[in-house]
């Protein structure tokens, strides 16, 4: 598989490429079929009057989203964003420059919703919503990982993620959907998680991991499932139950709970932190998916909700849950709802409830990749930027060797892994490889200069993407791991138990 794809050569630094118009025009995702569209309430095939319907839908969206209305109007096309998108840096396709990606929609907006575009379409670059436009939308709005890097640099904060979400919702409304994301949203509704793991399989896996940890540590560390009356409901991406290296972090969370003496439970009904409703831009789907969590928090009578390592899931949980299914007044008001697992562990660490042996991670020189949705769409702790310092504090507390990558590629300027936004699907592999290039370039540099051999992550999508992509760039797969994997290695079990 890897050999089918051309892997870009890594340079010393991230260079802005020359324009290669149309170079990614061939790469659209697989369209969703009736089977996946219908249950989500979308038309099962392209509707007959789709041109008209799409424009109507756009009109509805403009009235519902201030972001869309303002972002359609005020771009001055200054070009500040043109060299900021990892997909543009990796492909050179001008439609992957944020402003040009937005122009695909803006040109249609101008045609139907502005005086200038109705009267002088040629002058202001306005275009009809036709077959060619739809093809470009489907292609290039599925080459945006909604990472918001462009919005950091835009003088007006124009957020292409908002625009690509709106575009996907408009396309869904005319029956043109994306198979991968639609399929996954269906799985959550049907089974409770993105991977489609039914309860017996989940329970078997957790049992297996408990046995594994008992054998390796000598401690009875539990991964409780559907346990009513537990203190904490742990909501984590389902990849944590089945994928490597995700599973290592899951064991890290379990050890933290065990060591702190705080009872917790996983829910089989809400066995998913991820919320692909965000990727397809649908408020209703976002709400419906997140509702499972609120329902389980009540049903299991927990007092707190803690969310595992997952980027966009944390955005939805932190920024949207309260709006979607709040208020959470039935939970313990002394703790924020929800709480990130890094905040949770950090808190315990500061209270002295955890002891770490840093030497356990001495084989590693660690760097950290800030996941886009955590970095630019959420927070941890009480201060702005806690999403950067808290995970790094955990790494420093559990490792002796830590070094950051180039400052233009971390914190709010972090580069996407290349697989976010619902693009973590094999047919988009070429895009994923090229889109990862800027991040891999920065990583390779600290590998060469500081002998870095561990890339610490707090996102299930980043983990899966890098696990697949890094080897193509000649970087070993086991470089990839979670922050709680490092916690898991260093935590000293059986000491100071129960300080909370």
């Amino acid at each position: 598989m890897a050999h089918d794809h051309e892997v870009p050569e890594l340079l010393d630094d991230i260079k802005t490429p020359a324009l290669k118009p149309g170079s990614m025009g061939h790469l659209a995702p697989y369209p969703a079929t009736e089977k996946h569209m219908k249950p989500l309430g979308f038309p099962d095939a392209r509707v007959p009057d789709w041109e008209k319907r799409a424009v109507e839908k756009m009109g509805e969206m403009l009235k519902k989203y201030r972001s869309l209305q303002v972002y359609m109007d005020i771009c001055v096309k200054c070009g500040a964003c043109t060299d900021k998108c990892h997909y543009f840096l990796g492909t050179g396709d001008p439609n992957n420059m944020p402003v040009q990606r937005a122009e695909l929609m803006r040109s249609v907006y101008r045609r139907y919703f502005t005086v200038g575009g109705r009267m002088f379409p040629g002058l202001v670059k306005a275009r009809d919503f036709d077959e060619e436009t739809l093809k470009q939308w489907f292609t290039y709005y599925h080459q945006c990982s909604q990472c918001r890097r462009c919005s950091v640099f835009c003088p007006y904060g124009i957020d292409t993620a908002e625009i690509s979400m709106a575009a996907r919702e408009i396309m869904d409304a005319i029956g043109v959907g994306h198979k991968y994301t639609a399929e996954i949203v269906n799985k959550v509704h049907d089974i409770g998680n993105n991977l489609g793991i039914p309860k017996p399989a989940l329970s078997g896996t957790l049992q297996f991991l408990e046995d594994d940890m008992l054998e390796n540590t000598g401690h009875e560390i539990k991964l409780p499932l559907d346990q009513e009356g537990a203190e904490v409901l742990l909501i984590t991406p389902s990849a944590d139950f089945f994928s490597e290296p995700h599973i290592q972090s899951l064991m890290g969370y379990a050890k933290v709970f065990h060591q702190a003496g705080i009872s917790y439970t996983i829910s089989s009904y809400a066995s998913e932190a991820a919320n692909f409703g965000m990727f397809i831009g649908s408020f209703e789907q976002k709400k419906k998916i997140a509702k499972r969590v609120a329902e389980q928090a009540r049903a299991l009578k927990v007092k707190r909700i803690v969310v595992g390592e997952c980027g966009h899931a944390w955005r939805v949980a932190y920024s949207f849950w309260n709006t979607l299914n709040g208020p959470f007044d039935y939970l313990d008001p002394r703790y924020p709802v929800p709480q990130h697992i890094c905040e949770f562990t950090h808190d315990l660490m500061q209270k002295g409830a955890l002891t770490f042996d840093k030497e356990a991670n001495d084989a590693y020189v660690v760097t950290m990749h800030d996941s886009c949705n955590v970095a630019r769409a959420s927070r941890m702790g009480s201060h702005p930027g806690g999403q950067f310092t808290i995970p790094r504090d955990l790494i420093r507390a559990t490792c002796n060797h830590f070094v950051d990558m180039d400052e233009d590629t971390i914190h709010e300027k972090t580069l996407c892994c290349g697989g976010g936004g619902g693009l973590l699907t094999d047919e988009l592999m070429d895009l994923r490889i090229k889109g990862a290039m800027p991040r891999v370039t920065a990583l390779k540099r600290v590998m060469d200069e500081h002998k870095v051999n561990f890339l610490a992550l707090i996102c299930a999508i980043c983990k899966a993407q890098f696990n697949k992509i890094l080897p193509m760039y000649g970087i070993p797969m086991d470089t990839v791991g979670g922050v709680h994997q490092l916690v898991s290695n260093a935590i000293q079990l059986g000491t100071n138990k129960g300080i909370v």
């Binding site: 324009l19 118009p21 403009l62 009235k63 519902k64 989203y65 201030r66 972001s67 209305q69 303002v70 972002y71 109007d73 005020i74 771009c75 001055v76 096309k77 200054c78 070009g79 500040a80 964003c81 043109t82 900021k84 001008p94 420059m97 040009q100 122009e103 005086v115 200038g116 040629g122 002058l123 202001v124 670059k125 918001r148 919005s151 950091v152 640099f153 003088p155 007006y156 904060g157 124009i158 957020d159 408020f283 932190y318 920024s319 949207f320 309260n322 709006t323 924020p336 929800p338 970095a375 630019r376 769409a377 959420s378 927070r379 009480s382 201060h383 702005p384 999403q387 709010e412 300027k413």
Partner: protein, 237 residues
């Protein structure tokens, strides 16, 4: 005739501007989407917007050359506009005389910055690619306004006494007529027409960025979703 047109343009400009502000203000914001790290208090958000408007903070992060040119253009335009106050009032405080030199220098700097911005739009392939004819025309319009202003100052002087009389009495005596006696006066009318065109397109073009920035949810929202429940106006439960 000119008076009537000027009034008509002003009406369209003000009405269009107010309409757009009302449109933005009334559009709902269903979810909290500030680009983080974001301020956690309202005061912090005000400071963030102030830094964007006064210093172009985000643009500075993005592109230093573009920031320098864009900033120079906006600041000098403001200085030039301040200098124009004297054309609208019979008498000016004496210290305003001192300001003349600043206003004049700003005029040259503004036209220079515009020329460089135009060159940038043409020379950098990425920026050329995203530009429409309208993007170039707007820059040309500004260049025309600035250029004609400089010409009137240094080469073809119009009858400034007559202009000032017309301007200061626009409110009370719309009959005050402009006499066209030389090339300078033609230049002035051209200057005025270009300004009118600019005012006309502001509400209907990207020039609305001047008020849109205040309504941009990624910049004007407080990052406090856990502390305070944000309600979606079209989905309240």
């Amino acid at each position: 005739m000119l008076t009537f047109l000027t009034y008509a343009v002003l009406v369209v400009f003000v009405a269009g501007f107010v309409w757009k502000i009302a449109l933005y203000a009334r559009s709902p914001a269903p979810l909290l989407i500030p680009t983080t790290p974001a301020p956690v208090t309202y005061l912090g958000v005000k400071m963030r917007l102030m830094r964007e408007v006064v210093f172009f903070e985000s643009l500075f992060k993005a592109d230093k050359l573009l920031w320098a040119l864009g900033y120079a253009f906006h600041v000098t335009m403001l200085l030039v506009l301040i200098r124009h106050i004297r054309y609208f009032f019979e008498t000016m405080p004496p210290y305003f005389e001192e300001y003349q030199i600043i206003g004049k220098l700003a005029g040259f700097a503004m036209v220079g910055a515009l020329a460089l911005l135009m060159a940038r739009r043409i020379l950098i392939d990425r920026v050329r690619h995203i530009s429409s004819i309208a993007d170039h025309l707007i820059l040309l319009l500004f260049l025309g306004i600035g250029g004609s202003g400089l010409l009137m100052d240094y080469a073809l002087r119009p009858d400034i006494i007559a202009i000032k009389r017309a301007m200061t009495t626009l409110w009370t005596s719309p009959e005050a007529a402009l006499s066209v006696t030389g090339p300078g006066d033609v230049l002035f009318i051209l200057h005025l027409i270009m300004v009118a065109v600019l005012l006309l397109i502001i509400p209907f073009s990207k020039l609305m960025h001047m008020d849109g920035i205040f309504f941009s949810p990624s910049r004007n929202q407080v990052d406090n979703p856990r502390e305070k429940r944000h309600i979606n106006p079209w989905n309240r439960d």
